[in-house]
């Protein structure tokens, strides 16, 4: 009996590991980053548009803007295509073909981001440079590649939501004389909207957090972007590029960038959890 009690307590301790790790991450990131943010001043850190570490100038606004545009761009690319593919898989192909395509899409989700970045660098960047001008290493390239990268996430969750809908929705609409497309557009999609919203938020989280591919194709100019053909940095690439050689205040500024990123992700996560809880209710 005693042994059972000991085992139960041990499992409880093990189960607390994930929340402990989360706490550790938050603690250490904040411990490194907050002092610097305080020293520079939150306003000038978050809204300052000059990032010159060698001159002790730490404003990350260009990076915030960069992250914003790249993420937005990726959603513009990824959401319509992703939902279209979900509709395609769920409603427009026979189940046999869908069963083959689904694991293939899952495979694409497992491909490392550096491969996508590489492709963007080799293929996409020259195309943009040659046909649209600019350095090619640009927000446009980043959005396109990031959009492709978040497709598997959006496709699988959106498709799951569509498939989870009760058959009666579709059958009811069809029996009232609606065409297949009218059923999809007016009945199924609206009914699945909270699942699709979840997929978008998850895709957004993935997009904001992406580092390696963005380093490879965004151009990494630490200045305010003025068009989608400009090079830019995101919060993530800012850290990824300079962490290798940063020290002292510079390094702490990168941690402070991490703090900002952490908050943004936590906010997104909470939104996603809130939405999914409402869906279950």
């Amino acid at each position: 009996m005693f042994r059972e009690k000991v085992l139960e307590k041990s499992f409880l301790l093990i189960a607390l590991s994930s929340i402990s790790i989360l706490a550790l991450i938050a603690f250490f990131i904040f411990q490194q980053g907050i002092p610097l943010m305080w020293k520079v001043g939150p306003n000038s850190f978050l809204l300052g548009d000059r990032w010159f570490p060698s001159k002790e100038s730490f404003g990350i606004f260009p990076m915030i803007v960069g992250s914003f545009w790249v993420t937005l761009g990726s959603l513009v690319v990824g959401v319509p295509l992703g939902v279209a593919c979900a509709i395609f898989l769920c409603e427009l192909t026979p189940p046999a073909i869908a069963m083959v395509l689904r694991p293939m899409i899952q495979l694409l989700a497992a491909i490392p981001s550096v491969i996508y970045g590489f492709w963007g660098l080799i293929v996409l960047v020259p195309i943009i440079r040659d046909s649209l001008g600019g350095p090619g290493l640009s927000i446009l390239a980043g959005s396109l590649v990031l959009g492709i990268m978040i497709l598997p996430t959006i496709i699988s969750i959106a498709e799951d939501s569509l498939r989870a809908l009760p058959r009666s929705y579709k059958e009811g609409a069809l029996s009232l004389g609606a065409t297949h497309w009218q059923t999809i557009w007016r009945v199924l999609l609206p009914a699945a909207r909270s699942g699709i919203a979840s997929s978008v938020i998850l895709g957004m989280g993935r997009a904001i957090g992406e580092t390696m591919a963005m380093i490879m194709i965004l151009g990494n100019a630490a200045q305010m972007p003025h068009s989608i053909l400009d090079s830019a940095r995101t919060l993530t690439t800012n850290i990824g590029i300079e962490m290798g050689y940063a020290s002292g205040d510079h390094r702490q500024a990168l941690f402070a960038t991490g703090v900002v990123l952490f908050f943004i992700i936590m906010a997104l996560n909470s939104l996603a959890l809130f939405l999914s809880r409402r869906r279950r209710a």
Partner: protein, 279 residues
């Protein structure tokens, strides 16, 4: 009469758009893989896997990076599996929905959403500096373990949940204690699902770059111990591509990486369909 034609026109148009969108999406996605494989596969021969990189990666092979990848993955799995499966056992066998379980799930969900660069920062300041492990297989592996933990918890929980309640009830009725029932009835039957989760964790470890660079370093010398810095295949690929060292080597490394991920994914899928999806 006019209205009916219009509706069907709309449908034809809409479906056409969807077909084009879906088709082109899938084509592009596979084109990416095809591109790397087409250029890289021809360059993969035995010596490539058996030699270490030379001249900063311009020549030679990727043997040290393969060792690095394997070592890092093993450390990550060894640490994350007991923690992950243990958490799943606790959530499913030792407790009901309660404040404690909600906190644990919240922690797990949040951890799953943390970007890899943040894990990299954390791993750097905690494992490399604070615990004094330096840039090493150990630091990298421990960091990866924290990254794959949520995945393992999730899949292990699903696997354990799928074991029929009647098995447990029968075991208890025959005088089994809770731990005996878990050990002899639940875990053996949940094993295929748990293994699938481990494979997913392996796949993630193999492909991860940002966190690995910041914690395991980027030395391409064959490692001597757990405390040696290493370069994984993904990191090597990234460095080759970004520094423009050698496109050929980059293609080859990329192809090897893709093949490895393919193999891991296929193994996971096979496990799922063979063992997990039987009625």
């Amino acid at each position: 009469m006019r209205m009916r034609i219009s509706r069907h026109h709309t449908q034809a148009l809409a479906k056409g758009v969807i077909w084009v969108a879906a088709f082109s999406t899938l084509v592009v996605m596979f084109w990416i893989l095809y591109q790397v494989l087409r250029e890289g596969l021809p360059r993969l021969h035995f010596e490539f896997f058996l030699q270490a990189p030379r001249q900063m990666g311009r020549a030679g092979g990727i043997s040290s990076t393969i060792i690095g990848t394997i070592a890092l993955t093993i450390v990550a799995i060894v640490i994350a599996t007991p923690l992950g499966v243990g958490t799943a056992i606790f959530l499913r066998e030792y407790t009901r929905e309660s404040r404690v379980s909600r906190v644990i799930r919240f922690g797990t969900d949040c951890l799953a959403g943390v970007p890899s660069i943040i894990f990299g920062l954390f791993g750097f300041v905690f494992f490399v500096i604070f615990l004094g492990l330096g840039w090493s297989i150990l630091s990298g592996g421990l960091t990866l373990a924290t990254m794959i933990l949520p995945t393992i918890i999730c899949t292990a929980e699903e696997a354990i949940k799928a074991v029929p309640y009647t098995y447990r009830e029968a075991s208890f009725a025959l005088g089994g204690t809770r731990w005996q029932t878990i050990r002899k009835m639940v875990l053996p039957n949940a094993l295929p699902g748990i293994l699938t989760g481990l494979l997913l964790g392996v796949g993630r470890s193999v492909g991860e770059t940002a966190a690995v660079i910041l914690t395991a370093g980027s030395s391409f010398i064959t490692p001597g111990s757990l405390f040696s810095p290493i370069r994984t295949m993904a990191v090597h690929f990234y460095i080759l591509a970004r520094e423009g060292i050698s496109m050929e080597m980059a293609y080859a490394t990329g192809a090897a990486l893709i093949l490895l991920i393919l193999a891991i994914n296929m193994a996971a899928n096979w496990l799922m369909y063979r063992y997990v999806h039987r009625a």
